[in-house]
Symmetry: C2
Subunit: 126 residues, 2 copies
């Protein structure tokens, strides 16, 4: 067994996001947090929900439209939306009878930054 050790760089404060996955070994805490978000993306239904929400022109989608787009029960869609919201990927608001969801681009940018190679990661134009 080649005796080399891994120096962990991770956890540089609550929201400091920047070494990325590819720059230095991830600390366990940060890995647990990041994994929650990727896990939220790890389901076809949730990916399609997110994509529908993100690509809608006005920036907002009514739950009724989302539910109608799948052959799944309404509670199931509601559950997936909840997971996406808990992952920090979307948010919602009730307006009268309907509830509208929209994308939170910060989290998407953060993830994209984590995946990009260190050289490319700098470039997240907001």
């Amino acid at each position: 067994m080649s005796k080399r050790e891994f120096v962990v760089v991770g956890q540089d404060g609550a929201d400091a996001c920047c070494p990325g996955l590819l720059g230095a070994p991830l600390g366990e805490e940060r890995a647990v947090e990041l994994a929650k978000v990727f896990k939220a993306l790890g389901d076809p239904v949730r990916l399609r929900l997110l994509s529908m929400i993100a690509s809608r022109a006005g920036g907002e989608v009514c739950v009724c439209d989302l539910t109608a787009a799948f052959e799944l029960s309404q509670p199931t869609i509601s559950h997936h939306l909840k997971l996406l919201r808990q992952a920090g990927l979307i948010d919602c608001e009730r307006r009268g009878t309907w509830v509208y969801y929209w994308l939170l681009p910060e989290m998407m940018n953060k993830l994209a930054g984590m995946l990009a190679r260190p050289a490319d990661a700098v470039e997240v134009v907001s």
Copy 2:
């Protein structure tokens, strides 16, 4: 229920990657494929493994080093490495007694591109 429909743009051929999550609603097939990759990233152990592999200077890591870095059994690490490999994120080769793993940057770039906003997505400098 507001009667609007979603036009699916998805599946533009095997590996055409480009509308991204945020540009147009994802087709089911593409969602299923993408979800597999994100699911592979949705576990803290696998995230750390990937990060260790990606950040290692020489570009390659011996399994023995990876196994030593966790308090998990050797079969468990082996299983996680297999999932990462099946997701197209890493590859490996046996050289004598040891097996070495390395990152496949194409998949990382593809994912980063999917998450980036359409405007930003163009910029994957190889």
